[in-house]
Symmetry: C2
Subunit: 279 residues, 2 copies
C-alpha cells in the first residue's frame, strides 16, 4: 500500500493510504489515525464505516474522534464507502446508488458485481492489510458507523461472530429491506430475491439468531431520516424478543449530522475501549 498523506494530530498521525484492492478490483483509498501510543506499542482498532455520499474524509474531518482515540490509545481505520474510479459502475445523478453508496455488501448482479464487494473488503482484505502493515494488535477490533455505515457496522458484527469485540452505530439503517435507500441498492446489487437481501439486514439477522455482540446505538429524535429510512424500533423489537444485548439511546433534539456524531463519539469510543481492553 502507498502512504499518500500524514498529518500530525493530537500527538499521533492521521495517515492516508492507497492500494490496489484484489477484492474490489480497483484502487481504494482509506485513512488510519494512529494514536501516540502506536509509536511504541501495537494498539486495538476501531473500524468506522461512513454513510451515503461520504469518502474516508468526512469522519476524519468532522467527528472530532481523534482526540478521544489519542486519549484512549485506539487506532481508527476509516475506509471509503464504495469502490471508486472511472471503470467502476456509477449512477452520477443518484447519491444513493453506485459510488458513495456501496452499502457494505457483496454484489451479485451485473454491472455491480465485479467491483462492489465491500463486505469482503471491510471484513477480510482491509483488516488483513492494515494488521500486516501497521502497529495494530491482530484481531483486536471493534466497529462503528453512521447511517448506511451504521448498517454496515451492524451486519459486519452480526455476520462475523467473535471478530468484533463490540459494535456501535449512530442513526443506523436498521432494517434496509424496509426502506427506500436499502431497497434501491439491494435490488440493484443483489437482484429481486428478498431472502438474499435478508443476509444483509440487521433486524432480520438478529431475528434469525445471530450471535450476541454488545451493541450501542444512538438515535437523534430530530433526525430527518428517522421516520422514512432508519427503523430503529424494528431492531429494538427483535432484540427484545431475543434478549439481544442492545442499548438504544434516544438523544432528544439531535439530527442526522456529524454534529450529532461529534457530541457522542467520545462515549462510543470509551465504550469500545472497555470491550477492547478485556482479555
Amino acid at each position: 500500500m502507498e502512504h499518500i498523506e500524514a498529518i500530525k494530530e493530537f500527538g499521533g498521525w492521521l495517515n492516508r493510504y492507497r492500494h490496489d484492492s484484489a477484492t474490489c478490483h480497483c484502487s481504494m483509498t482509506f485513512s488510519v489515525y494512529l494514536p501516540p501510543q502506536a509509536q511504541t506499542e501495537k494498539v486495538p482498532a476501531i473500524y468506522w464505516l461512513s454513510g451515503l455520499t461520504c469518502t474516508d474524509d468526512n469522519f476524519r474531518v468532522k467527528a472530532g474522534a481523534q482526540r478521544y482515540a489519542a486519549e484512549l490509545g485506539l487506532a481508527l481505520v476509516i475506509p471509503d464507502t464504495s469502490p471508486r474510479g472511472l471503470d467502476v459502475p456509477d449512477v452520477p445523478e443518484r447519491y444513493d446508488l453506485g459510488q458513495g453508496a456501496g452499502f457494505y455488501i457483496n454484489a451479485t448482479q451485473a454491472p455491480w458485481s465485479q467491483h462492489y464487494q465491500m463486505y469482503d473488503y471491510i471484513t477480510r482484505e482491509l483488516p488483513a492489510l492494515v494488521e500486516a502493515e501497521l502497529p495494530l494488535i491482530p484481531g483486536r477490533r471493534s466497529i462503528s458507523g453512521h447511517s448506511m455505515g451504521g448498517h454496515g457496522a451492524l451486519i459486519c458484527a452480526l455476520k462475523e461472530p467473535g471478530v468484533y469485540r463490540s459494535v456501535s452505530a449512530f442513526a443506523p439503517i436498521c432494517h434496509p429491506m424496509a426502506c427506500g435507500w436499502g431497497q434501491g441498492c439491494f435490488k440493484a446489487y443483489l437482484g429481486h430475491d428478498r431472502e438474499i437481501w435478508a443476509a444483509y439486514d440487521a433486524a432480520r439477522l438478529i431475528e434469525a439468531g445471530a450471535a450476541a455482540t454488545p451493541l450501542l446505538i444512538d438515535q437523534g429524535t430530530a433526525d430527518e431520516f428517522l421516520a422514512g429510512q432508519l427503523h430503529p424500533m424494528s431492531l429494538e423489537r427483535v432484540c427484545t424478543a431475543r434478549d439481544f444485548p442492545l442499548t438504544l439511546r434516544w438523544q432528544e433534539g439531535y439530527d442526522h449530522s456529524y454534529h450529532f456524531i461529534a457530541t457522542f463519539i467520545g462515549e462510543h469510543l470509551t465504550w469500545h475501549a472497555k470491550a477492547l481492553r478485556e482479555a
Copy 2:
C-alpha cells in the same frame, strides 16, 4: 436578523443567521454556537475569524471547538471571511483576493470599498447585533483565528484596546506587508501607500506601541506556509523589544490544517475562558 439553521450539539445549539449588513452593504451569514449554559444565563463570547477560502462553515465543522465551548460556557461567534454575493466584486480565479479573502480590513479603493468593510463589520456591527439579539454578556469578548483570520484577530485586538480580554491565533499572518498574500490584498483594497497598510499589520502595530493584550500563538513547524507567508519571527522580535505579553508556542510536526487547530483549540478556549472570567 433571520435565524436560518439550528443544530443541537453538545447540549447547546449551533445556530446560523443571515442579515442585511449596513456596513458591508450586502447580505451576510454567520454562525453562533450557544453552549447549554446560555439557556439560563448570558455567557461570554469568543469571536473566531477564519482563513482564506473559508466561510462560517469550516470552523464549526472541523475544529471540534463546540465540545470545549459547552464545557466552559462560552459562545462562539463565527463570521464569514468577506462580503458575499453576485453584486460584490470578486476575482473568481484567485483564492487570495476578493470573496473569501476580505483580510478583515476596511477597503478604500474601487471597486472594493463599497462592500469590503470587514474591520468595521467584525469590531462594530456584528458584536452590536449579536449582543442585542442573543444571550451574550455585553462587551465580554475575546478573539481568535487562523491564518488570515489569525491576522484579523491580532489587528482587531491591537487596534481596539480594552475591547477583547484576550487574543490568540493559529498560524497567523503576522506581518502581512511582508508576504505575498498580504501585499496582494493590501494593494488592491488600500492602494499603494504602505503607511496605510501598516495600520492593519500586527507586527507594525506592536512596533508602533499598541496597548498590551495577552496574546497566545500556536505555530506548527511543518506548516507549508510558514516560510513564505506567516513571519511569526518578525512578530516575536517586536514583542520582545517592547516586552509585549506574547506566548509563541512552536508545535513540532504540525501543519497548517484544521487538524492542527483541532489539536490545540481546547487549550486556547481554556486560556480565553480564564481571561473572560476575571472581573
